[in-house]
């Protein structure tokens, strides 16, 4: 028993604290880093994502509301992580940590909630944008509580979970509270034969809206060129002076919404340019035309385009303008405590380093124009085109 406690404490990741002066509330986030999952496990994880917020064995839904003072507990499932987040009033840190502990160790996940989640996921129509981002269909007819509990325990393992607490806290306060709980955490063994079933990728966008994509080459975590590539994505597809907006929307009139995204994967990142094309007659040809125009446009980039991309990154990360390659996280550090806690904890999980908006933006200033053009050209030129027909 002593050995197990010591092992759990050793394996657990350090808590990230983000105290802020003048904050009115406390934001808590728990991020579980995902291993490679088979298609079936990934769908069971979607069920967990939907059912986990319905209550725990310790706190029912109403009690959870009392702890959060009516704030909602959210759970989002990304390709590389599951993120649980909520806020509590400034004096509720202890109960907030207790609720988070209950959510990741003692979620009720009853068969009724599981059935409800399966039913809802089976019927749910994703919107065009989410379908373009994750073109997979939920196909499980039923899921048992045992399947759910098994995956739940495997996902929320001590070494996989990253806890972040920020806002109205004193330094060290959350850490003390959390460390008492880690000791009671019992890791489960990993399966000998993990699920390796393959995703069935959709070829149509079931929303009825056609989407096109230029999908760049995956870059590994720790890629030294990530800063240049991220700035290239700002230049290509963030803001109304980006290449995508100027060409795809203003020049070709192909689309109202088009954005660049740095999509997370379990191995790293995937640069993606996504275009909604509601009434394109030949989307594949339109996408090819857009690709050619983009490559020609990159050739013409000047220092002013580099400066605009840096400016847009500042607007996105410092002011909280919700347009940027890291938008998949829906956390803009300039916007709120919740967003800063989410981004800080996610970055720790993803890269093993602390997030600093200032440092990130300062590093962008060192990117040279030619390097930016080369990175953008590589993303577009070497990217594959993907069309999900809405017809």
């Amino acid at each position: 028993m002593i050995t197990l406690i010591a092992l759990t404490t050793l394996l657990a990741n350090p808590i990230s604290e983000f105290p802020e002066r003048n904050a009115q509330e406390i934001s808590l986030v728990a991020i579980a880093k995902l291993p490679n999952l088979g298609a079936k496990d990934r769908q069971i994880l979607d069920v967990i994502g939907k059912a986990i917020t319905r209550g725990t064995e310790i706190y029912g839904r109403r009690e959870a509301y009392q702890i959060t003072d009516g704030r909602t507990v959210t759970c989002s499932v990304l390709p590389d992580a599951v993120i649980l987040q909520f806020s509590v009033p400034a004096n509720n840190l202890k109960l907030g940590i207790s609720l988070m502990d209950a959510l990741i160790h003692n979620a009720s996940l009853t068969q009724i909630e599981i059935d409800r989640a399966v039913d809802s996921l089976g019927r749910k129509e994703q919107d065009y944008w989410h379908t373009a981002l994750s073109p997979y269909k939920f196909e499980l007819g039923s899921v048992t509580r045992e399947q759910v509990q098994d995956l739940y325990a495997r996902v929320f393992r001590p070494e996989a979970v990253y806890l972040g607490v920020g806002g109205a806290i004193k330094p060290g306060e959350a850490e003390d509270e959390w460390s008492n709980r880690i000791e009671r955490w019992h890791p489960v063994p990993l399966p000998q034969y993990p699920d390796i079933s393959l995703d069935k990728v959709a070829v149509a966008n079931s929303s009825g809206i056609t989407t096109g994509e230029i999908r760049g080459q995956e870059m590994p975590n720790g890629d030294p060129a990530i800063i240049t590539k991220t700035l290239a994505l700002y230049a290509l597809g963030s803001g109304k002076e980006s290449s995508l907006h100027r060409i795809v929307r203003e020049k070709l009139g192909l689309s109202y919404r088009q954005e660049s995204i740095l999509w997370p994967t379990t191995k790293g990142w995937l640069p993606r340019l996504i275009i909604a094309m509601a009434d394109a007659e030949d989307p594949a040809a339109s996408l090819d035309a857009a690709k050619k125009e983009l490559l020609a446009d990159i050739e013409t980039w000047q220092e002013k385009d580099l400066k605009r991309a840096i400016g847009m990154a500042n607007a996105n990360l410092r002011l909280g303008v919700p347009l940027g390659p890291l938008g998949f996280l829906e956390a803009y550090p300039g916007r709120s405590v919740e967003d800063r806690v989410k981004m800080g904890t996610y970055w720790q999980m993803k890269t093993g380093t602390q997030w600093s908006t200032e440092k990130f933006l300062n590093t962008l200033e060192f990117v040279q124009l030619q390097d930016l053009k080369d990175a953008a050209t590589a993303i577009v030129r070497d990217g594959t085109t993907v069309v999900l027909s809405g017809k």
């Binding site: 939907k50 917020t53 803001g239 509601a278 607007a315």
Partner: protein, 382 residues
């Protein structure tokens, strides 16, 4: 020596405490609000052009929206390049209440925003082919409108008929617009009695007011009379896209029962996973919509069965948080205060908080009753 002394004296003067905000009404009727948000890293400048001057009708449905697309480009069509390079962004949107332009900039560059708003106020050349190109893009915009917007539009339409037309507009009407017609709408709208400018951020009240005055004072007064509000009626309707919604018919935002309805709606929404609320405060006819996308059951049933005593405290707490959330930063504060002030120059978000403090259980129950059949509009989306 004397000048050094004078300089030192000036440096040691205590800063003059300014009030949190200053409202000025110019001779031409234009309203300026400078809203101090101390320590805010950004400044938000927002121009509101009321829909009063050109109310939406079936024959002009969407012209305000089309005009917004052209004005947001600015006379010289280089606004976005300037603003984005400075680390800011320009937003534009058309609602039932107003057309709204927001420039958000880092504090050090906020005065650029005044120039940008001035440029937006001057409509550039518009050709027929530009209109056709823009309508092509707007067709795309219309196609990707989310289900929650369709549900809310259906509720408005069922309750108010032509007086509840959606702010997006009719693509046929927009496609048939001419440059002359668009110019007429522009000239009627861009008049002193129809506009409000808000500057929200860590700015000096007098400096902000002077800056706004410099671009608004030359507008003609114009004429934009209030229309009498239309009384809404409940019923059943359908919408495009899978989802469901309940629309509670409300009147003047200054009526305490309106915010009680918001509180009741939020209380019930907290019982339904994935639900949303859409409410833009209005002086005349209004609607609080609670719905859910991707599901067709749950919201309506919850409204019919919920015990108001269970959700009363939570509803009040959520409504307070909703109001405070609207004004928690410079951009939000400018947006929310502007929305209220363009309709009622003396109305402030803090009034909602006062009303919530005084809200009785009876008020709350009455608010909840507005979401129940047959008072409400029930929308089913398929």
């Amino acid at each position: 020596m004397l000048s050094t002394f004078a300089c030192l004296l000036a440096l040691h003067q205590a800063p003059i405490q300014q009030p949190p905000r200053l409202r000025t009404i110019l001779g031409n009727g234009a309203i300026i609000l400078v809203d101090r948000v101390p320590d805010s890293p950004n400044v938000s400048l927002q121009l509101f052009v009321s829909s009063r001057a050109v109310p939406d009708t079936k024959t002009n449905h969407g012209l305000r929206h089309l005009l917004e697309h052209f004005e947001a480009r600015g006379r010289n069509k280089n606004i976005d390049a300037k603003v984005e390079t400075a680390g800011g962004f320009l937003y534009a949107k058309t609602t039932r209440v107003a057309t709204q332009y927001e420039v958000v900039l880092p504090k050090k560059s906020w005065k650029m925003g005044v120039d940008v708003i001035q440029e937006i106020m001057q409509l550039g050349d518009v050709r027929s082919e530009d209109i056709q190109h823009e309508v092509k893009i707007m067709r795309q915009e219309g196609a990707i409108r989310d289900v929650s917007a369709h549900l809310a539009d259906a509720a408005w339409s069922a309750a108010y008929g032509e007086a509840g037309l959606d702010p997006f507009g009719d693509l046929g009407v927009m496609g048939a617009a001419t440059p002359e017609l668009l110019t007429q709408v522009y000239k009627k709208s861009m008049v002193g009695s129809n506009v409000l400018m808000v500057i929200s951020g860590d700015v000096d009240l007098d400096e902000g007011t002077q800056s706004a005055r410099s671009i608004l004072a030359s507008l003609p007064r114009g004429n934009s009379p209030e229309r009498p509000p239309k009384i809404g009626r409940g019923g059943l309707t359908a919408a495009v896209g899978l989802g469901e919604a309940r629309g509670a018919i409300v009147g003047d935002m200054e009526d305490p029962l309106t915010i009680a309805t918001v509180a009741a709606g939020l209380g019930v929404a907290s019982e339904v996973d994935g639900s949303f609320m859409i409410y833009t405060p209005t002086k005349a006819q209004g609607m609080v919509v609670i719905g859910r996308v991707g599901e067709t059951t749950g919201v309506g049933a919850e409204f019919e069965k919920v015990d108001p005593a269970v959700i009363f405290d939570r509803g009040r707490s959520l409504a307070r948080r909703w109001v405070r959330g609207q004004i928690r930063d410079a951009s939000g504060s400018g947006n929310f205060r502007g929305q209220l002030m363009i309709q009622s120059p003396s109305f402030k978000p803090e009034r909602f908080l006062d009303m919530l403090d005084r809200m009785s259980f009876e008020d709350f129950k009455e608010g909840l009753a507005r979401f129940r059949e047959p008072n409400c509009v029930t929308v089913t989306g398929r």
